[in-house]
């Protein structure tokens, strides 16, 4: 346990040292020193002000990811199993996946309002295509001998879905989820600058405009911690849902 924690602390200390060095070189007006930012962060957390913004962002993120995952898994698995479904799904995904979704934020706002729904759907659109491709490729990558085993054991549709297709896609789904969460948070940061007064994006950019750099940096630090918590939660979920990955020789 100790050997796992120490390198992590060392890495974070390294980032902190670079940050502090830049603050010393460029001056703490532009880049506030870490102790000052941490003090501001603690104060904001104690007063609960930052928790409201973090909560709003987390809610949007979790909602977008959950809906995307729930939709992407059946679509991706269907595209992996059936050529017809693949011919229907893949061209749509290939066209929509690379588009910069943030450019569609005004359209989402017109269609779904200025509230949370448009931001959740924007996040959904960022995450869903990557997850569909991960699920599809997970099914396509099932080794032939496992497909033969399923056939010779005469597995029915339900068993094939639950004991072959779904578990075979899970590792790729979790990898895709980790990548999408990073992109999703970046998109959410931009989206929270429009028509809202809650969210980490709003908090950071508002303090930037107000030239309150310690609070802005505290917001950036909090956003990093939020992203780390989400990624750690995804790791934990993977350990629960894919226990065999931890045991491979």
């Amino acid at each position: 346990m100790r050997s796992r924690i120490l390198p992590g602390i060392g890495g974070l200390a390294g980032v902190g040292a670079v940050w502090w060095g830049l603050s010393l070189v460029l001056g703490d007006t532009l880049i506030p020193a870490p102790p000052e930012v941490v003090a501001v962060l603690v104060r904001l957390l104690v007063h609960g002000q930052l928790l409201l913004h973090a909560g709003a962002s987390l809610l949007r993120l979790v909602a977008g990811i959950t809906v995307a995952t729930a939709l992407a898994i059946p679509i991706g698995i269907a595209a992996g199993i059936s050529r017809t479904a693949d011919r229907l799904v893949s061209p749509v995904v290939y066209v929509l996946y690379p588009l910069p979704k943030i450019a569609f934020l005004p359209v989402f706002m017109v269609l779904f309002g200025l509230g949370d729904l448009s931001k959740i759907l924007l996040l959904f659109s960022v995450v869903v295509f990557q997850l569909i491709l991960a699920a599809r490729d997970g099914v396509r990558g099932i080794p032939e001998e496992l497909l033969f085993a399923a056939a010779s054991l005469r597995l029915g549709r339900r068993d094939r879905l639950l004991r072959l297709y779904l578990p075979s896609t899970l590792p790729q789904l979790f990898s895709a989820l980790r990548i999408s969460v990073g992109i999703g948070i970046a998109v959410l940061f931009l989206a929270e600058n429009y028509a809202t007064s809650f969210g980490m994006g709003y908090f950071i950019m508002n303090n930037w405009v107000m030239i309150n750099y310690p609070r802005m940096f505290a917001g950036i630090l909090a956003l990093g911690m939020l992203a780390a918590a989400v990624l750690a939660a995804i790791d934990a979920l993977q350990r629960i849902l894919c226990p065999w990955l931890a045991t491979d020789r």
Partner: protein, 251 residues
């Protein structure tokens, strides 16, 4: 029993099998040996229902509806299921109809007893809760055999079951397969690259070359567990090696 008549499978790029005739009586054993690409696995996959033949016919069991079990070259265990969950799938296949829906298990079948009993008979009961990734190659293949036996096959198809194993583990697996065949009396067709394995596991050895049956050898020593100690076993092996050399592509 297995009856194959004029069976043919053609691949778009050439190859496959043609004009295959084969008879294995109920409870009988047959090995198929031949050079790589001669169609051994194609024939086996056809009989296992994994490939549709382009011509000819085959029958498994007297009524043509025998329960068929397949043990593959690679162990083919589901890596996300524990050993007992993998074997449970085989047990559930016992009550499964051909459309894939689960039917009732036959009377007297207790899933828990069945799984542990099978694992115990193959010497891997202590691994019941382990995942395949935690097992050695030999252990994985034993579990794969347990899973197949759980479906109580009347016809057992073995596709080079020991090819990925070291020499000692391979011999131990051959001994196990011989014991199981004598105990359960299933009809057994095994495909192998190993001359000694082909002889040890079957009363008849079929030599295949370029998609057809080239010759057959009867093995009077089967099912002697001590066959490897007999001079006659090595005479048969030499004979088989000679016939195999005749069908090798560079012969």
């Amino acid at each position: 029993m297995i009856r194959v008549r004029d069976l043919a499978v053609r691949y778009p790029g050439g190859g496959g099998i043609h004009g295959i005739h084969l008879d294995v009586p109920s409870g009988g054993t047959c090995s198929i040996i031949g050079p790589s690409g001669c169609g051994k696995t194609t024939l086996l996959h056809c009989l296992a229902g994994l490939l549709r033949p382009d011509g000819g016919s085959f029958q498994l069991g007297i009524d043509g509806d025998a329960r068929v079990g397949l043990v593959q070259q690679k162990d083919a265990l589901f890596p996300w299921l524990t050993v007992e969950q993998n074997v449970e799938l085989g047990l559930r296949a016992l009550g499964r109809r051909s459309d894939g829906d689960d039917g009732p298990l036959p009377a007297g079948t207790d899933p828990a007893d069945g799984i542990l009993g099978l694992l115990s008979s193959l010497g891997v009961e202590s691994l019941a809760r382990a995942y395949p990734g935690q097992l050695s190659g030999g252990e994985r293949q034993r579990v794969a055999i347990a899973r197949t036996l759980a479906s109580r096959p009347e016809v057992l198809l073995l596709d080079e079951p020991s090819s990925a194993l070291d020499a000692f583990t391979r011999e131990a697996l051959q001994d196990l397969l011989l014991t199981l065949q004598r105990k359960h009396r299933f009809t057994c067709l095994s495909v192998t690259h190993h001359i000694e394995e082909a002889l040890f596991l079957a009363e008849r050895v079929v030599v295949m070359g370029r998609g057809h049956v080239a010759t057959t050898i009867d093995n009077p020593l089967y099912p002697d567990a001590e066959a490897r100690r007999h001079q006659r076993f090595y005479e048969l092996a030499v004979d088989l090696r000679t016939r195999l050399a005749e069908v090798m592509p560079n012969a």
